[in-house]
Symmetry: C2
């Protein structure tokens, strides 16, 4: 896991989305070395996600960062239209940002990932906070990809907590189960940051108020968060929201060190049954402290230090 | 849920098994009104389970209780041969008990259950601590059964903890997934006592030592428990064992009142995928205290008071 001081180059794959917008701003705020961003359909379409990504990056002062449009449809089936009830009809809480002068690259997200993995061989860190379609397409097209990438961190799945699309499935995995299975089967080390920790990482009302009273970038993010709060407050039983994607970013950057993240077998349920989209994480060795198992390479983050909402708000207020 | 003072008549369905033996002794010790016992293949074959049941009941002074042999095979497929590595080759830790003078009834377990439900209409409590084959057969044969039974408590499943057969499946459910699905689909209220609580209810070494130094019945149970400890100690990382079936009995009798047992949707994964045998419990409303949902009728026990090991040991030492 590259620490922030390592400044490992980062490829971000996202479906922007309000918590993706927070993540983009956070990466800029902490000075992460983002070398490319790809979009994928999830919270919104890949096309809209790329536009939102460009506009949020421009808002944060980084209209120089290359943004590639990724897969519109999952590997099997069609894009379902997004989570507009969560993220607003434009994906960023119906906030209208100034349009970035930049346009998406001609390159696809999967091609960008593959190229960057070669340019930063052994060092590139892949941070994927949407469905894993682009990563799976890149793995299929480039048999060397897994060995060229330094590490992968995904926001996705749920191990010992309920899902958010079904009782057991989390949205990023559920929205492309075949891609998720390919990404977890590939011979690269994946750190899985799922609902076990992201549902507990939260902005409370005081964070929202601080952002709304902050400088222009923070104010714009706060305006988006009003929509996110509208969805999450009834779920959480209080004015608050979960910080899914930013938490995964903090783990990927080494800015946040998990307090429990065992290396254990993980499988994605790709059946058409009620378990479809579940990340089946084998945690049966929990009572003996998760001793290493031969052949396992994926870390599942089960606990992180408290207080990430404060950390994130502080970073965003610094923009 | 009938309390012990209600002395609701109990039909016990079991696959005896060391923790089933503890359960039989516990039911006798606390004076539960057991009106019939059926066996089913699980830890051992239904035939051997019935013999063990008779012998344990005779040991505990109740050779008068009717014991019926139940289903040898699950509804689909064949009995796999049992969990002899957990329970010993004879199912009761290779302890040889005096043979009870009693024999199984001519009636099948499913027929016994159906008859008892009529004889104790509206009052019979069904306590099932093995695979649910007999209950499913009785439901199929007797369309009125669900409405005649007062309540059902099963030991089975896992909601927010790992399984014990696969990463997500618990043995009683996994061993007859079709039967489990039928039992949870039937219009009767089921209380599910699964690994969430039974893995935390334990005998420690001091309980084992107390039983081994106790009166003859406790000594025999302690001798069985040596085998059970041999299996569980490496799983738990200390000399101890889980008290699956006795805990379900205590909940069924009302001797133990769960501290958290929401009424929520439950579904059994009957696919052939990696989730097969999982009890998919929809706990997404956890953040708002599990408000009632129309159409749900099953309770999932997620927390119980600590100290059941002490309670159980004390009861068994009183025999």
């Amino acid at each position: 896991m590259p620490g922030l001081r390592d400044r490992a180059p980062v490829y971000l794959d996202c479906d922007t989305g309000i918590d993706d917008a927070l993540t983009l701003a956070y990466l800029v705020a902490v000075g992460a070395d983002v070398v490319g961003v790809g979009s994928v359909s999830g919270n919104v379409s890949a096309e809209l996600g790329a536009r939102n990504t460009l506009d949020v990056l421009a808002l944060a002062g980084r209209d120089d960062l290359p943004v590639a449009v990724g897969a519109h449809d999952p590997l099997l089936g069609r894009f379902h239209g997004g989570a507009l009830g969560v993220h607003g009809t434009n994906g960023i809480g119906d906030v209208v940002l100034p349009r970035s002068p930049a346009d998406p690259t001609a390159e696809s997200a999967a091609a960008m990932l593959s190229r960057l993995a070669r340019e930063h061989a052994g060092r590139l860190h892949v941070l994927a906070v949407g469905p894993l379609t682009n990563l799976a397409l890149a793995l299929d097209a480039d048999p060397d990809l897994a060995s060229l990438v330094g590490g992968v961190t995904i926001m996705g799945g749920a191990a010992l907590v309920p899902g958010n699309v079904t009782a057991v499935a989390e949205a990023n995995i559920f929205n492309d189960v075949v891609a998720a299975a390919r990404v977890l089967d590939a011979p690269w080390p994946v750190t899985v940051v799922g609902l076990d920790v992201t549902m507990e990482a939260r902005f409370e009302e005081r964070h929202l108020e601080a952002l709304l009273a902050g400088p222009p970038v923070a104010r714009a993010l706060g305006a988006m968060l009003r929509t996110y709060f509208r969805f999450y407050s009834p779920v959480l039983g209080r004015p608050a929201c979960a910080l899914h994607d930013p938490l995964a970013a903090a783990v990927a950057l080494g800015a946040l060190t998990p307090t429990l993240a065992p290396v254990v077998p993980i499988e994605v349920d790709t059946t058409d049954g009620p378990g479809r989209g579940q990340t089946i994480v084998d945690l049966r060795s929990r009572y003996i402290g998760y001793p290493p198992l031969p052949g396992t390479r994926h870390r599942v983050v089960l606990d992180v230090p408290a207080g990430f909402g404060d950390t994130l708000a502080e970073a965003l207020l610094g923009l």
